[in-house]
Amino acid sequence: MTDAARFEAFVREFQDMVYAVAVRLLANPTEAEDVSQTVFLKAYERFAELDANPAAPGWLKTVATNISLNHLSRYRARWRFFSELGSDEQDARSGERGLESTLADGGAGPDEPLQLRERDAALEAALHRLPDHQRVPLVLYHFEDKSYQAIAALLGVSLAKLKTDIFRGRETLRRVLTDHGSI
């Protein structure tokens, strides 16, 4: 197998994982795809070390997380300065349409009860709608298994603020579970 073919197989194996990290942190499928491309370009530079390396998934997740957070702090803040807050809702709706198509291709199989699939879709959509300062810590805690201290250090916020943001984000998601009878 040539280098290009091996790298292509590498991308196929990990693209869903990398994209999932990016799209949950950014809540925007287009930006997530850009970030995912950047992650794999960096992986290509180190492919000799990453190929068939059991540490490759962890490395990819770390890089995807860092690049997504950089994207949020560097680009999202810049655009937000020039945009009205009201347009954020339009962006969220257009992003949701893209996210819905992403979720439609997701791993939920036809054997899963309809109610469970609806709950999952509602939960993912609610997570996507959360503001950045609530969604990002929740994703890092629940999906990346990072501690509160590590998340606070990564985001450069106090532990108290982090706990408040996570609490409020959980309240929103908990309502989804309640609405679907899960709790």
Binding site: D16, D34, T38, Y44, N70, T102, G106, A108, H142, L177
Partner: protein, 151 residues
Amino acid sequence: MAPSDVNGELHRALRQLPVPRAPGTLLPRVMAAIAAQQAAARSWFAWPIAWRMASVAALALLAAGAVAFWPVLEALTTMAATSAPLAAVRGRVQGTAVMFDAALSAASVIWSTLVQPVAGYLLVWIGVMAAASAAFATAVGRIALGGASHS
């Protein structure tokens, strides 16, 4: 339900969410970007500075060698011109030279009347456009090749 149970239920529900699938365009984009990087890496401007200096030095040596060799070439040409067996060849060459001379004169007239008056402005314009294109290509390359962040 106790708050810790609710949080546990939420955590389980989140962890059970299906993994969002990457779009079908991601893989082709990645491979295309890598191919573009490899093509850019082959350009002379992407060479290490030592290689570029060596290539310029090699070209300079070649030019110096050609200049040094020119008198030898002229001497050989003179010998060929005065050689009897080459008289017929010389006649054909002279005929071609006359035609070439006429073409050169015509080109000279065109140059002096049409091109020379605007040559200076043309050179400046070409330089400005080349610099602008290089700056634009660099900016686009940084954006297109994932220059969103550096980590």
